[in-house]
Amino acid sequence: MNNQVFYEDVVEGQELPPFEKRVTTVNILMYLSTVWLMDRIHFDHPFATQRRGLPNVVAPGNMAVDYYTQFLTEWAGEKGNLRKVSIQFRSFMLPGDTLTCRGKIIRKYIEEGKGCLELELSLKNPSAINCVPGKAVVELPMR
């Protein structure tokens, strides 16, 4: 387990260490089969490109929620909690892309005795396009 980060250790304006995820067609196929999504833009290349004008098949947008969830639950550690994630869909995540999740602490506050952080999130593709900007609330243990 990583060293636990505590509320007192972080400051507003601080950036979390970036977190990378690579999404492949195999990840997409696994995701579609397990949640049972048959939307052809996610797996049918001729349909996605010729019929929908997309550059390739595209990853389900919800995978961004999963990536942010892993990023923040790992950072918050065993004693921290991810309370909330919100996202906006701006651009597609494409297979083969390495996506970089970043988070910046924009506010620290104590709520009912718990140390909470408000974070601004970005998920950028290799062309530095923020495909799925977001926000989160993370709770950290206090010393």
Binding site: V35, W36, V65, D66
Partner: protein, 175 residues
Amino acid sequence: MGESLLDKLGWKKYLGQETASYTGETILARDIRRYALAIDDLNPIYFDENAAKEGKYGGLTAPLSYVSWAIGVPGGEKSVKELGEDGLATFVGVPEFPNTWELGWVRGGEELEFFKPVYAGDKVTVTGNIVDMSEKDGKSGKMIFVTSLFTYKNQKGEILAKHRVTMIATPRKES
């Protein structure tokens, strides 16, 4: 602003209306494992009962974000013949109002608030409500925003998560 499209469609009366109530089937360790593999999150608490017992939640749980899939997609399991040409079975967050499909829908955004994880063996119930409806004049005409709030509970009635989904509707262009 001009004439209100929401008024014209007569949708405002649906604000606050319950749109979904559905209980899924028992979540299997296999469902959790496959989901964790798909998102490449290899934390042993999603794969190994013993590691999970030692871990934060004391049992085999799914990644928090799994909750919005824990009941499947209601109405999503259709035969190939019944599916649309694009493979799309249903569109979560698009309400079943009159004239819904006279407009084109895109996903705006979503928010997930987590309270407890889903454990292997859980049966999850979702209820949905329309919580917000608004419209504005966009660059290419009217835009309607419809926000649904889905609440997920386990078989003990404990709230697992609240999920807000905002869909954006625009009048279809004549072609």
